[in-house]
């Protein structure tokens, strides 16, 4: 268990010769662990490891669905909050900003309590309300985490568009809907950033999915919960391998979004 020794080594690194020698051994072990992790990651991907791909697909399915709902709710909400002036707007903005900083584990606890058998929603027993320890429950939790980010960043992006544009677009004969679309189009860089931020917050999140999903093999095991599990079991190579894949997903998503955005980022 090399990394366990590393953990002990951090606390025992001192100036004495035995301590330094001990740390040297641990550093080698750490580098080996990382190297092995990378090799394992490549091996798992190249061999199309079924267990890994099952976890990967579930993660993408859950986070992708959550992001879709977050975008469908968050972008219009952010646009309305950015464009309209109404009583209680400041209060709603304060709520939204609070939501942007929700600790995932608290969201997990909240969703757990709501969906549990004796919870306010769980006891309704309606088919539309997901059961705990299912992918649907994880989607709900991830939606709650990501939609304030999507809405908040969209609102900021919309508010950043020159206010005169709105009037000038209307002066050309735009309807209210066409004006909103034009402003969102001008704020597209910010809107895309909001979606990226929303995705980043949930693909890498572990607390909420662990609580409401339960990390059940073949059912609710996600990339992040698998890392926690494998680390706990001392399978650092595998945990690192999954970590590398998680990072790769994040990177590919961001590059794809930037590509889709096209020239907007050049300015």
């Amino acid at each position: 268990m090399p990394a366990l020794v590393v953990w002990i080594g951090i606390d025992h690194c001192g100036d004495s010769l035995p301590s330094r020698r001990f740390c040297f051994v641990q550093e080698r072990a750490t580098i080996e662990t990382i190297w092995n992790g990378l090799k394992e990651a490549i091996r798992l991907i190249v061999s199309q490891d079924p267990a890994l791909f099952e976890i990967l697909l579930l993660s993408l399915r859950v986070s992708g669905t959550a992001l879709l709902f977050s975008t469908l709710i968050g972008v219009p909400l952010g646009a309305v909050m950015g464009l309209s002036r109404f009583i209680g707007r400041r209060f709603l903005i304060a709520l939204l900003y609070t939501g942007m900083g929700f600790p995932p584990v608290v969201v997990g606890l909240f969703v757990y309590l709501m969906l549990s058998r004796n919870g306010p929603l769980g006891q309704l027993d309606w088919s539309i309300i997901p059961n705990l320890f299912t992918p649907a429950a994880m989607v709900v939790a991830q939606c709650i985490i990501s939609f304030p980010l999507v809405a908040g960043f969209t609102m900021a992006a919309v508010m950043g568009v020159d206010p005169a544009l709105r009037q000038q677009v209307q002066a050309m004969g735009a309807t209210r809907w066409q004006t909103t679309v034009a402003i969102l189009s001008e704020a597209r860089v910010g809107v895309i950033v909001s979606v990226i931020a929303g995705f980043g917050s949930i693909i890498s999140e572990v607390g909420a999915v662990m609580m409401v999903g339960g990390n059940i093999e073949h059912r609710t095991r996600m990339l992040t919960t698998a890392i926690v599990l494998e680390t706990g079991k001392g399978n650092f190579d595998l945990a690192l391998a999954i970590g590398v894949i998680l990072l790769a997903i994040s990177f590919i998503t961001n590059v794809a979004m930037l590509y889709l955005q096209g020239k907007g980022f050049d300015e």
């Binding site: 009037q167 050309m172 004969g173 309807t175």
Partner: protein, 242 residues
């Protein structure tokens, strides 16, 4: 040119404390160029926003081509689209020059590429049609703003200080196009300007606005040669400090 296209009666408009505009009566004739002069804060731009139906008055009524707008009301979209404005500071969309000019047609579901090309040729920007609009100079941006208005062939073109801060070449070009639009297409123009000389060059009638009120409205010659109100005379002589 005696047909009335706008009929404003008892108009007031305020933003918070105080009136931005108090207009007892104003008729605008179809096919005329009406210039509104006056210092900053006189209510000229507020009046243009009402004429473009971007806002509704707090009281009074605006009749336009048979329809009427009262407080809180809105002009039917079809009629609202007969009017457009060229603003002092044009804000262009983050797209190409051609896409900016085409935008108003897109809103109306009309994809007439020839008109875009023709409008860009009129303002002398055909060569820049594929360039990003936000890379243009101030004068070029204002010409794009004029082109995006021309392409709509409006019955009424509202010009809000369209040549402020522009060089003489661009001023001459824009004034020439405005005159052409009026003479050849019969468009009604309402021009807001600080520049009395520009008003003299372009307008059939000129009105002086002060503190939200229309002090005097007269044929251009009478306005400049024999103003009825002493404040108009002072303004024309350049004695009014603002």
């Amino acid at each position: 040119m005696n047909e009335t296209i706008y009929q404003l009666r008892g108009i007031t408009k305020s933003y918070g404390n105080g009136f931005a505009l108090r207009l007892d009566e104003l008729d605008i004739r179809r096919g005329e160029i009406l210039a509104l002069v006056g210092p900053s804060g006189a209510g000229k731009s507020t009046l243009l926003r009402l004429l473009n139906f971007l806002e509704s008055p707090n009281s009074g009524s605006i009749r336009f081509m048979g329809a009427e707008v009262r407080p809180g009301g809105a002009m039917p979209l079809e009629l609202r689209r007969r009017v457009t404005t060229v603003f002092q500071r044009p804000v262009l969309l983050n797209r190409s020059v051609a896409a900016n000019v085409r935008y108003g047609l897109d809103l109306r579901g009309r994809g007439e590429g020839d008109r875009v090309k023709s409008a860009l040729e009129t303002v002398g920007l055909a060569d820049l049609s594929h360039q990003r609009a936000r890379t243009l100079s101030g004068g070029e941006a204002q010409r794009v703003a004029l082109a995006r208005a021309l392409v709509l062939e409006p019955d009424v073109l509202l010009l809000d200080e369209p040549t402020a801060n522009l060089d003489p070449y661009n001023v001459g070009l824009i004034e020439g196009i405005a005159r052409q639009l009026n003479q050849e297409h019969g468009a009604t123009l309402v021009l807001v300007t600080h520049n009395v000389f520009q008003a003299k060059r372009l307008a059939h009638r000129v009105g002086l606005m002060l503190e939200g009120r229309l002090v005097e409205l007269a044929e251009a010659e009478a306005f400049f040669e024999s103003p009825a109100d002493p404040r108009t005379a002072a303004f024309v002589r350049g004695e009014m400090v603002y």
